[in-house]
């Protein structure tokens, strides 16, 4: 190797370096991410949102080369964490997870939630989607939603509904509004206690996420009668949907989605969306999701935005009709 050759090579390297350096200022996203990304989960550790975020975070770390630091900021029914996400630097290094409760329900029903997601946040991608299913006690002998409505009419005032969350309570009220069914609400601490009583026939019905319900459905302890979302579930192919049962304007389901502060640049949003969709197609994520009965919604940024808009409208409509829970 001669002298001029190596000099020339050195020159080329220098030019490329300078070019890269100049490019850096204009195209920030090319270097993004060059440090760990903080993902705020507005709920405590261990819940469904936290678990999904951690599964997603693991896969993202492999794809982006940066680890995802999950920060659980629980408080005021998710308001505290969501607000922290809204007020974060819009540089893509802080993202916030959203769920139906923090994005669509709280801003309408909870005075503490003084934010408005369509204005304050940008939806990036859906991390996971979990259908909801209505189950009833076996001793009622009903197999479908119309059966249950008929049973309710024949045995006025005997049906009870096990509830433990705001979503479940709105699910009951919405169903009563749309079908004329009446069920006495009975409060429980959580899904486990509630299912114990539905199994024993002490409570008649409950609406809950399919991953919590499936073990009991598979063992035949409770009867699934209807999917409360727009789609059938591959896990329960024989169970029809509310739409098929003739109930209109009624969708109860659950999802976890990725949001960033409003002013986050487009390139970063697109980048996160692309990497997230790639992450959700990776084998480890698919395996864990199958275990937890979580479905993937492979939406681009625009589709994600449309999905959120539909969700926010649907919940706002239902809450307006059903009235506040208090």
């Amino acid at each position: 190797m001669n002298r001029t050759g190596s000099l020339r090579r050195l020159g080329a390297v220098a030019i490329i370096t300078v070019a890269l350096g100049l490019g850096m200022g204009s195209a920030l996203a090319q270097d993004y991410p060059d440090r760990p990304i903080t993902a705020i989960v507005p709920f405590g550790a261990g819940g469904g949102a936290d678990t999904q975020t951690r599964i997603w975070g693991e896969a993202m770390a492999g794809l982006t080369g940066q680890r995802i630091v999950v920060e659980n900021v629980a408080g005021t029914a998710g308001v505290a964490g969501t607000k922290q996400g809204i007020n974060a630097e819009p540089d893509g290094y802080t993202v916030v997870m959203g769920a139906a409760s923090t994005i669509a329900i709280n801003p309408v029903s909870n005075p503490a939630a003084d934010y408005y997601p369509p204005r304050d946040l940008r939806p990036v991608a859906v991390i996971g989607y979990t259908p909801y299913v209505m189950v009833v006690a076996n001793n009622l002998g009903v197999k479908t939603l119309p059966d249950l409505i008929e049973y309710g009419k024949a045995n006025e005032g005997t049906l009870t509904y096990a509830g433990w969350t705001a979503v479940g309570e709105f699910a009951r009220r919405g169903l009563e509004l749309r079908t004329g069914l009446t069920m006495t609400p009975v409060p429980y601490q959580g899904a486990t206690e509630a299912m114990t009583d539905v199994i024993a026939g002490r409570a008649s019905a409950a609406i809950l996420d399919i991953s919590s319900a499936l073990p009991f459905i598979r063992s035949g302890s409770v009867t699934p009668i209807v999917m409360t979302g727009p789609d059938k579930s591959p896990a329960l192919p024989d169970v029809g949907t509310v739409v098929e049962a003739g109930v209109e304007n009624y969708v109860i389901d659950s999802w976890i989605a990725l949001f960033v502060p409003r002013d986050t640049p487009d390139e970063i949003v697109e980048y996160l969306n692309a990497k997230t969709r790639e992450a959700l197609k990776s084998q480890p994520v698919m395996d864990r999701y199958a275990e937890l009965e979580i479905e993937v919604r492979d939406y681009d940024v625009e589709e994600t935005g449309a999905f959120m808009a539909r969700q926010i409208d649907a919940w706002a409509g239902l809450i307006k009709e059903a009235g506040p829970t208090q």
Binding site: G44, A45, T76, A77, S109, P187, G190, T192, R202, P215
Partner: protein
């Protein structure tokens, strides 16, 4: 029987993963370490170390917590024997004869027999847990809201009666705990209750925060009252292995202690403490030389240590099968389980069999680790005993702050810990023992829910609610216990217990 073996086999397959063995070991070591340090009992230990388990999967986390729990118990016994400072109430009686043995230069033997007795009792208790868990959880599935309500009432009654100090004051603490459980937003309606307009109280009181304040920080304030007194620790521990005569002397005590402890532990209330006292009294009664007790009788160490260890393990039974923690420590373990997405209750065995049996077998393994790893490390624990308190307590303070902050990333949690530290110290000065408060805090929500549920389902008829035979029996039992506790002879007995502590 074959079922039992299959279950235990499933458990061992869970425990014998590198990660879980490691977590079990770390739990035992850290638990012993903190248990040895003066002034921190198992309750505060678990409260402080809970954040360490967040990154593990649920089974690993509970295995580690369980390890911390009996590690701390073991550490408490070590200090009781070596320096006559029981780390917690269940090793109070161990100090009587254990420390006497240490003065005679037989400290090693006392530690050895405590470890061996604990291991035998632990193995037995593991089998008991495995055997009764399934029938009990089947039974629990059939329990109505009324049954649960009365069962909780019985548990709380026992907790008050078996605790130390004035009954009336314990009742006050319990009520405050139950009221604190009601604070916060209703999880269905979102309506705020007793929050006085404060956002901080919107999510209610976090058990870990309350426990860390009332037990962790308050304990430090108590200890700072008096000028520091360095415990005298003898470097000469002596041989660890008991000889044949010692084993012969203590075999009976270990057997009786194991049985007694395993039974008492299942009953709600402070099983570990009660069983160690009961075992000590029993050993003194059956001994041919009762006059040697208090002067270094090896049975006085072997019996209570076996009993409290057996009881420590069977206290997991009500938590794992009924979802009802019977002691404040178990309440914290239950809280940690919930945090990891496993709600304690009758469903745990069916829905998370690997977790359940993993935890059960890890108890046995943890005991084994304590014997084969801790005994040789006794020299190191003795060194820790010599850490001066003026360096120790700032360490604990920083650990508490960092630990509690990392749970929810909520700065207000740290401020709450400070507040509960003062409150805990105030209660101590006013001679209120805040242990029932923590139990009330845990059970309060369930108590209200089951009462409301029972009344809705019985359409508001108190009679229908009460007429269930099991409910009646349980409520009757609670009443009998309260009345008998108020009777002069038993209240005198409680006084003695309180003074010993």
């Amino acid at each position: 029987m074959t079922d039992l073996l299959q279950h235990l086999q499933l458990g061992f397959s869970v425990v014998f993963s590198f990660q879980n063995l490691f977590l079990c070991l770390v739990g035992c070591l850290v638990g012993t370490l903190i248990g040895v340090l003066p002034g921190i009992g198992p309750l505060a230990t678990i409260a402080i170390l809970m954040p360490l388990t967040y990154n593990a999967d649920p089974a690993g986390a509970i295995i580690m917590l369980a390890g911390i729990y009996y590690g701390a118990q073991y550490g408490g016994s070590t200090t009781a024997i070596l320096v006559n400072m029981p780390g917690e109430s269940s090793s109070v009686v161990t100090a009587l004869d254990g420390h006497a043995m240490a003065r005679q230069g037989r400290a090693g033997k006392a530690l050895g027999i405590a470890a061996i007795g604990s291991f035998i009792a632990g193995s037995f208790a593991t089998l008991v847990v495995a055997a009764v868990a399934i029938p009990l959880s089947r039974l629990a599935l059939g329990l109505t809201a009324g049954n649960y309500f009365s069962l909780m009432l019985l548990g709380l009654t026992l907790a008050i009666v078996l605790g130390s100090g004035s009954l009336l004051k314990a009742f006050c603490m319990l009520l405050i705990g139950v009221i604190m459980a009601l604070v916060g937003a209703d999880q269905i309606t979102g309506e705020a209750r007793l929050t006085f307009g404060s956002q901080v109280l919107y999510d209610g009181f976090d058990m870990a925060v309350v426990a860390m304040g009332l037990f962790g920080i308050a304990e430090i304030l108590r200890n700072l009252e008096a000028p520091e007194r360095r415990p005298f620790v003898d470097d000469v521990v002596g041989g660890l292995l008991p000889n044949r005569q010692d084993m012969k002397d203590s075999a009976g005590a270990i057997t009786r202690g194991s049985l007694l402890g395993a039974i008492i532990g299942i009953i709600p209330g402070n099983g570990a403490t009660l069983s160690s006292f009961a075992s000590y009294v029993l050993e003194k009664k059956v001994s041919k030389h009762p006059e040697t007790f208090g002067k270094g009788a090896i049975q006085g160490v072997a019996g209570p240590e076996s009993a409290n260890n057996a009881a420590a393990q069977t206290t997991f039974v009500p938590l794992l099968t009924l979802g009802l923690p019977s002691t404040a420590t178990m309440a914290l373990v239950g809280g940690a389980m919930t945090l990891h997405g496993v709600v304690p209750g009758p469903q745990v065995i069916d829905m998370h069999p690997e977790l359940f049996w993993g935890v059960v077998t890890s108890m046995w393994l943890g005991n084994l680790m304590l014997v084969i790893i801790n005994l040789p490390l006794i020299g190191i624990w003795v060194k820790f005993l010599k850490v001066p308190y003026h360096l120790l307590f700032p360490t604990i303070i920083l650990l508490c702050c960092v630990g509690i902050y990392s749970v929810n990333s909520r700065p207000t949690d740290v401020l709450m810990v400070a507040a509960f530290g003062v409150i805990g110290y105030l209660f101590y000065r006013l001679k209120f023992d805040p242990t029932p408060l923590l139990l009330g805090l845990v059970l309060g929500g369930m108590l209200e829910d089951s009462l409301r549920r029972g009344l809705i389902l019985s359409r508001g008829s108190f009679w229908t609610f009460l007429s269930d035979p099991l409910t009646l029996v349980l409520l009757g039992l609670s009443a009998v216990i309260v009345i008998s506790a108020l009777s002069p002879s038993i209240s005198r007995g409680r006084q003695v217990l309180a003074e010993d502590e």
